[in-house]
């Protein structure tokens, strides 16, 4: 049972400037919700004011399905309780913005995709904190998907001259990996497809492929698997053509300048979730089985891919 979903669409709408009265109301509704959020935030800040007025700021990216507000609110509440200080979630649609927020020290922790992690690690801006466990293991892979009506395609290389949907220029599964694969096959990733575009999210890759906007797309297996449970109607409209080898799961990173104590506290809070009934419940809703201490070696494959592509 995953009480995810249903908020994704409104997030899409929110991104769009209103074109009619209805959107005007939706916008107002969203604004109102933001104000409520802020009120809750301020109220909870006040509770913790005596101990530590500085809130912990936690960045969220499309590496997870990052727009389930209710789940995230509950999780934030949980973390506040465990850390005994205010926590703020900062959601961004593009990895670039999250990377910039870490660089600008505007967030302390972030759950990022593997590519941004390796980038941040290499730039010595952040370090690995924990790796989530999906079905008990710290791995994920990349899926190449096409519309379910396309029964021909068997590999990425058959997609020459097609329209391809990328997730984010800093996404491993949704950008780096397919380009790497093309490059390894001797193709020019910049010319191989007739047209490419970014959807700024993994779920939207599924949307774009299902709707026929793109002929194919590549995305995070965790997102697709989760969607296949909470929105099977959507994933049924797509077909997985290929699955990549496994790589380390998109990790939670800590900004380098975050104090050891804060870092340890956060790590402890996340690692302890699986052993805590409330935490376990949240994990279940996140479709994860827990968090494990990070192991940088898990991401070597990604780093290799990055370096190869960076040489291009």
């Amino acid at each position: 049972m995953f009480p995810f979903g249903n908020k994704i669409e409104s997030s899409l709408i929110y991104r769009l400037p209103s074109s009619n009265t209805e959107n005007y109301f939706i916008n107002h509704f969203i604004m109102l919700r933001k104000y409520l959020w802020l009120t809750v935030l301020l109220a909870s800040s006040a509770v913790w004011a005596n101990e530590n007025t500085q809130p912990i700021r936690f960045g969220l990216t499309p590496a997870i399905i990052h727009n389930q507000y209710e789940l995230l609110a509950d999780w934030r509440e949980y973390l506040q309780k465990k850390l005994r200080r205010p926590v703020e979630f900062v959601s961004r649609d593009s990895y670039r913005e999250t990377i910039d927020l870490i660089r600008q020290q505007k967030i302390d922790f972030a759950w990022v995709s593997t590519y941004p992690y390796v980038y941040l690690e290499d730039k010595r801006l952040a370090r690995l904190l924990v790796t989530p466990l999906y079905q008990g293991r710290p791995y994920y892979s990349f899926y190449l998907i096409v519309p379910s009506t396309d029964l021909e395609t068997k590999s990425l290389l058959q997609l020459k001259g097609k329209i391809f949907a990328y997730a984010d220029p800093y996404s491993t599964s949704g950008y780096l990996a397919p380009r790497y694969q093309l490059q390894q096959a001797g193709e020019n990733p910049n010319r191989f497809f007739r047209k490419t575009f970014f959807t700024w999210g993994h779920q939207r890759i599924v949307d774009a492929v299902a709707q026929g906007l793109a002929d194919a797309g590549s995305l995070d297996s965790f997102v697709w698997d989760t969607l296949s449970v909470i929105q099977p109607d959507l994933t049924h409209q797509t077909r997985i053509v290929a699955k990549s080898p496994e790589y380390g799961f998109p990790p939670v990173v800590a900004r380098r300048s975050v104090s050891r104590a804060d870092s340890a506290a956060m790590q402890q809070a996340l690692l302890g979730m699986a052993n805590d009934p409330e935490g376990a419940q949240l994990l279940k809703r996140l479709n994860l089985s827990g968090f494990a201490p990070g192991d940088a070696k898990l991401y070597d494959g990604i780093r290799k891919m990055m370096r190869t592509m960076a040489d291009q």
């Binding site: 074109s19 009619n20 939207r204 709707q211 906007l213």
Partner: protein
């Protein structure tokens, strides 16, 4: 059609009225519905214009940055909007076309894949492409292709002088159907209520209007066969044309009756005049030989040598001849008798004469004598008329019946009437009442009324008999003063 036109007004009037009401209701609701349709279309155009403007404003930066996904999201919103409330207007398709007239993005990418030449999508889009080529790239335009199932609204995506492409919004033409059905249903409901109120009223009114006409028509149709019955004047009390028709009909009926009555009297008086002439002629012809015969018998009787048997026979003949003379004399009414003027006392004398007979039958006699001086009419003749009529009335009245008598002067005429209850006379009997030897006529030889008539006639007056509704036989006599006598 003729069948309908031949129908009675009883049905035709309500039917026409009902039809007019229905046609009016249909015309009014039809007008309202078509007006609503125009408004809906106007709204659609307005919506398209607003939507086109706001979409293009958002699409411009997306196209500028080649952000397909963002463009897709922008145009998907109006498409995926759930239909709410009574506004069914929702675009079915939205496309963004680039400057090469290729699909930049479509809300339904499967039907219009990205980068497809717009002209290759379908023939309709080929026409649209031509129209877009002709546009100035600044102003929006509604494109209504007659054969198409869609209204197209085309908005250039441009800012200042940079033109990036064209936004095409397609609304299905049948978009109004649900709304239209709803409107039509409302219209029909209201129409049905109006009809439910008006039709029974119309039916009643139509019947009310038609019924007098129908009755008059029925009576007019029957007039040649039988005497029509009177109209019930309560049936229509208003003074409009139908009311006037009622009055005219009643008047016509009355005139017809008078005319018939007059004709009857004419026939009767002509017949009686002919009879009078005949009787007078015969009487003269009989009287001459009769006088001779009587003189001869008288002469014969003066000879006394006749045997008793012959004498007896001669007497028998003489009595017979005398009877003939009397009868003929009675038939030959001679009004030219010199007489004194009629005095009020003469009338009272007649009463005195009649009273003993009336008393025998215990009759009640109503007596109104308004004569107060002598009038220039022969007293003997008038007395004879009075006696004849009164005796006749007394004879015809049952025991303890009533006889009324009224006399006076009016319009330079002596007018009197005798009425009695009791035996009523039929029309047939009345028609022949004044003829000689009428079985209804009392007095000598059934000549009483004949004599009366002859006298009145010779005096230049008129006598008439009427059967009154209240079971009275009414004899009326009017004689001009100082008349022919």
């Amino acid at each position: 059609m003729k069948f309908i036109l031949d129908l009675s007004y009883r049905y035709k009037l309500p039917l026409w009225g009902g039809m007019l009401i229905i046609i009016t209701a249909l015309a009014v609701s039809g007008t309202l519905i078509s007006h609503a349709y125009d408004e809906l279309k106007e709204d659609l155009l307005h919506d398209s214009e607003t939507m086109g403007y706001s979409l293009k404003t958002n699409l411009f930066p997306a196209m500028l940055h080649d952000d397909v996904w963002r463009a897709y999201e922008i145009i998907s919103v109006p498409i995926n909007r759930p239909i709410e409330g009574s506004n069914p207007v929702k675009a079915e398709h939205i496309l963004v076309i680039d400057n090469e007239l290729r699909v930049f993005v479509a809300a339904h990418p499967k039907s219009a894949p990205m980068l497809t030449e717009m002209r290759h999508l379908n023939p309709e889009f080929a026409v649209l492409a031509d129209r877009i080529m002709q546009m100035d790239g600044r102003s929006s335009q509604e494109i209504n292709l007659p054969e198409s199932k869609y209204y197209y609204y085309v908005t250039p995506i441009s800012s200042e002088n940079l033109h990036l492409g064209t936004l095409i919004i397609a609304h299905p033409k049948n978009i109004f159907l649900p709304r239209f059905v709803q409107l039509a249903r409302h219209g029909l409901e209201v129409g049905a209520i109006i009809l439910a109120i008006l039709l029974p009223f119309n039916w009643y009114w139509g019947r009310r209007m038609a019924l007098p006409l129908v009755q008059i028509t029925e009576r007019m149709g029957d007039i040649s066969k039988k005497w029509p019955s009177e109209l019930n004047s309560d049936l229509f009390v208003y003074r409009d044309e139908i009311g006037q028709l009622f009055v005219a009909y009643t008047q016509m009926l009355r005139d017809l009756k008078d005319k018939e009555e007059f004709e009857k009297q004419m026939v009767q008086s002509e017949r009686l005049a002919a009879l009078g002439q005949l009787a007078a002629g015969i009487a003269h012809e009989i009287n001459n030989p009769l006088s001779g015969m009587l003189t001869a018998i008288d002469t014969l009787k003066s000879y006394s040598d006749l045997d008793p048997r012959t004498m007896k026979t001669i007497d028998l003949i003489e009595r017979g001849l005398t009877q003939i003379k009397e009868t003929v004399g009675a038939l030959l009414v001679e009004a030219k008798i010199k007489s004194r003027h009629l005095a009020p006392q003469d009338i009272e004398d007649v009463l005195t004469l009649v009273t003993p007979m009336a008393r025998k039958k215990a009759l009640h006699i109503g007596w109104h004598n308004s004569l107060d001086e002598a009038v220039p009419l022969p007293a003997t003749l008038v007395r004879q008329i009075l006696i004849n009529l009164l005796l006749n009335a007394v004879q015809a009245t049952e025991q303890q019946g009533e006889v009324t008598f009224d006399i006076g002067i009016a319009d330079s005429q002596l007018q009197f009437s005798v009425a009695n209850d009791g035996r009523m006379l039929s029309d047939e009997q009345i028609a022949h009442l004044f003829e000689p030897f009428s079985p209804m006529s009392e007095g000598s030889h059934g000549l009483g009324l004949w004599v009366t008539y002859q006298i009145v006639h010779q005096l230049g007056g008129r006598v008439s008999v009427k059967r009154e509704p209240n079971d009275l036989m009414h004899f009326t006599v009017s004689i001009p003063l100082g008349g022919v006598a």
